[in-house]
């Protein structure tokens, strides 16, 4: 059967080209128009400034602000004409939507065929052409759909389309509307390349592509320093991971002689072309380093919270639902290789668990609504790696799947809140939004319950199975860490919920009057994602409830560690424990964060306003530790002191000492030698042709003499 798989990434690419082109053309036209206006306003230069025209220009600008009850805050220019916005919206959403339809057209029959015959499931591979051919190495431009990429493809396209739709409403007042959709489409293209790639180099194209788009979109408000810096930070941090990724690809090539994903099967059958256990371990570690960079694991997670400088749909799509899960996808994809090196898996598990609890603990004390979600994302990614690390790759992917829905929903909900509050992100200035924004409130509550792990929402099933796998594998410490993290998760999510939706509004009444529910383009995706947060969990019911569809579906693609069976009783017990812990967290959040009758006064201590006396007592007891946690464990400062500062010093030394003195010295010395030689030799340059001729003949004479003598 011939599937037009290549169309799936090609459509967003087309969208990117169209949107980008339209945006550029419009920008050029605007620049020209502005120039003409300026010339018109300044018919004779040198006559000073014409105040009238200036005011007229301002007036035009202001009218936009007054007209739009929207994001004047980030306005970097006048709003686009409605026709152009319609074009960008239609192209942006349309291409991605078409890709989604197309991919589901391929996915649904494929999933059916896989489920009917799991053992005999074959991936669909579509080879377009040979990209690189050197010796025995052949790298093709080829697309692959197997269970793993099918799973990824399903939620990437689905959630992606919803977020595109959401963006139509969310971004409508932005000047860079076209640019935004161009980048977003380019991101979809890269992500689909990453997911559909049939070999590591192609995956790497997508990998770098999403990195680039992440950079571009974090720095979307490029005129804001913090956004530009955040984009740079994300990019540089990812480079550290990519360095490992590239070396890992070379390692795979060295081990298996191919970068095609067929190496997974080779690894499964332990048919390595070469390599030692140590080599396999190194390759796994390097690939995992890449995954750490992209999926924000310790110690490379620092970029993700800062990435919240981008527009909220970007945070939802890239920094929660899709791109950051690429690391998990990579590990799951190479699961067979990881299984050859159990030590590497242990590393993955411990890093994942460490990240989960570290990020969760930071999330406890954040006041920015998006920062909370960002740390939550890091923490949840840690969970996924924890799952992979204990050998439950399918469960990890399941969590990726469910997480995509509820985290996207949470982010979009927070976006809706921010939208409603005119770009207010500090939760201390919120409160009482439940009635004002009912749709947002309800969907966010559902997804918060999902992430907290309350039955029967999606997060419960995935998270519980992760903990169960850890327990079953005998990793009790990891289990404990996960359990604590689950409690923390429940606590900070409902802290967020309470601070945002409960109680009364803590801003000024004037602001309060502007609060409004978001338009349909934004709420519809919220509803759909909210529904997903409820329903997706049932795709992966634990074994005790029957067949785990997800695990079975993924079994042809991902490896699985030898399963340690636990009794049903233990499983029920574990569920009860995790439910209890989550419930405790929610209870504590409700108890501590009353949010009643408080007004936001700038300068007041953060928790004074909204936290209950019991909470204050706790904070005072924990004292220093609390401050450290609130300051994100001082990780950024630590990196600055331990890594960046020494590197800067080495760099300075290399610059001043090595480059300027040694290298430049060598270069200058050679230049000086040339100059000296030239000074000596130029005496022979008489400008007299006959001298040259004579010299030439004498040379020939010498040469002839040599021949004669020989």
């Amino acid at each position: 059967m011939n599937y037009p798989i290549w169309l799936i990434p090609a459509l967003p690419l087309l969208g990117f080209l169209l949107n980008g082109l339209a945006s550029l053309l419009y920008g050029a036209a605007q620049a020209q128009k502005r120039g003409e206006e300026w010339r018109k306003a300044h018919p004779d230069e040198g006559h000073g400034h014409d105040h009238g025209s200036h005011e007229a220009a301002h007036g035009a600008h202001d009218s936009h602000d007054a007209h739009g009850h929207d994001h004047g805050h980030h306005d970097t220019g006048p709003m686009l004409p409605w026709a152009l916005r319609l074009f960008h919206g239609v192209v942006g959403v349309g291409t991605v939507g078409l890709a989604t339809v197309l991919s589901f057209g391929i996915l649904v029959p494929y999933a059916k065929s896989v489920m009917s015959n799991v053992e005999g499931a074959r991936p669909i591979v579509e080879t377009l052409y040979h990209w690189i051919q050197v010796g025995g190495l052949s790298i093709d431009i080829a697309f692959r759909i197997d269970a793993l990429s099918a799973l990824m493809l399903s939620f990437v396209t689905f959630v992606g389309t919803l977020i595109h739709l959401y963006s139509v409403g969310y971004m409508q007042a932005e000047a860079g509307y076209g640019r935004f959709f161009a980048y977003l489409n380019l991101f979809m293209f890269s992500m689909l390349m990453l997911v559909l790639a049939n070999n590591l180099p192609m995956l790497f194209i997508g990998w770098e592509g999403v990195g680039l788009c992440s950079y571009l979109l974090i720095g979307y408000y490029y005129d804001k320093d913090f956004a530009a810096a955040a984009g740079k930070k994300a990019f540089v941090t990812n480079r550290v991971g990519d360095f490992g990724m590239v070396l890992g690809i070379f390692g795979i090539l060295a081990l298996f002689g191919t970068t095609d994903f067929s190496f997974v099967d080779m690894a499964r059958q332990q048919q390595m072309a070469s390599g030692t256990p140590l080599g396999v371990y190194a390759v796994c570690a390097l690939l995992f380093l890449g995954a750490c960079g992209k999926s924000a694991q310790v110690p490379l997670y620092v970029w993700l919270p800062d990435a919240m400088a981008g527009p909220t749909p970007v945070s939802a799509l890239i920094h929660a639902a899709t791109m950051v899960t690429a690391g998990v996808y990579l590990v799951a994809r190479c699961s067979a290789v990881f299984l050859l090196a159990p030590d590497a898996l242990t590393l993955v598990a411990w890093v994942g668990a460490g990240t989960a609890i570290l990020a969760a603990s930071i999330g406890l004390a954040q006041n920015d609504i998006k920062k909370v979600l960002a740390y939550s994302t890091v923490s949840q990614l840690g969970y996924m790696f924890l799952a992979c690390g204990v050998g439950a790759f399918a469960i990890g992917m399941f969590h990726v799947f469910t997480h995509a829905f509820f985290k996207a929903c949470l982010f979009l909900g927070s976006g809706s809140v921010i939208h409603a509050l005119h770009h207010e992100q500090d939760m201390r200035a919120m409160g009482g939004l439940a009635k004002k924004t009912p749709a947002t409130h309800l969907t966010m509550l559902v997804s918060a319950l999902a992430i907290a792990g309350i039955v029967p929402f999606a997060g419960f099933f995935s998270k519980d199975q992760i903990l169960g796998s850890a327990f079953a594998g005998g990793h009790y410490i990891l289990f404990a860490v996960g359990l604590v993290t689950a409690g923390m998760t429940a606590f900070y999510m409902f802290r967020l919920y309470r601070m945002t939706f409960s109680g009364t509004y803590r801003g000024t009444p004037e602001q309060e009057s502007h609060i409004h529910e978001s338009p349909l383009t934004m709420t519809v995706p919220l509803w759909i994602l909210g529904a997903g947060s409820v329903l997706t969990g049932f795709l992966g019911l634990p074994e005790v409830f029957g067949k785990n569809l997800m695990v079975e579906f993924l079994s042809p693609s991902v490896g699985k560690m030898h399963a340690h069976e636990v009794s049903h009783a233990t499983e029920y017990l574990l569920m009860a424990v995790s439910l209890a812990v989550a419930g405790a967290g929610i209870f504590l959040a409700f108890k501590w964060y009353t949010g009643q009758d408080a007004k936001f006064t700038p300068g007041a201590a953060p928790e004074d306003i909204i936290a209950s006396p019991a909470a204050h007592a706790f904070f005072e007891k924990t004292g220093t530790l609390g401050k450290v946690v609130a300051n994100k464990w001082n990780v950024d400062e630590g990196i600055e002191a331990l890594v960046l500062s020494p590197f800067r010093k080495i760099g300075t030394f290399l610059w001043r000492g090595f480059d300027a003195l040694f290298i430049d010295g060598l270069v200058n010395a050679s230049a000086f030698m040339v100059e000296l030689t030239g000074d000596l030799v130029r005496f022979f340059t008489t400008g007299n042709v006959r001298n040259y001729a004579l010299t030439f003949v004498l040379g020939v004479l010498g040469f002839t003499l040599y021949i004669w003598m020989r």
Partner: protein, 107 residues
């Protein structure tokens, strides 16, 4: 197709004449100061080389030598036209063709 009959005069005689002419030309090229005379001497050198080529072609019974002489003559024509045009331009600019007085190409 049969080769030409054996040479009545020893090839070495032709070679000697050619070499002699070549070095007479070289002497002119090195010692004369008039650019035109130098050019003339170079033409003589070229023709001496042609003679050698023809001699070797005759010795081997191979016509390729004659072909190469043909090319040399044609290239000499091109070279002479350009060279003489240069001399005319040079003379217009500096009113002399004494190469010792034309020595701008120095430091």
């Amino acid at each position: 197709m049969n080769a030409v009959e054996p040479m009545a005069v020893a090839p070495a005689a032709y070679l000697t004449v050619g070499t002699l002419l070549f070095f007479i030309g070289m002497a002119g090229a090195l010692l004369k100061r008039n650019a035109l005379s130098i050019f003339l001497s170079i033409e003589l050198m070229m023709n001496a080389a042609n003679l050698l080529l023809l001699t070797y072609a005759r010795m081997r019974g191979d016509i390729s030598g004659q072909v190469i002489v043909f090319f040399v003559i044609a290239i000499a024509a091109a070279e002479a036209s350009i060279g003489l045009a240069m001399f005319v331009a040079l003379f217009r600019a500096r009113s002399t063709v004494d190469v010792d007085k034309i020595n701008l190409l120095k430091w």
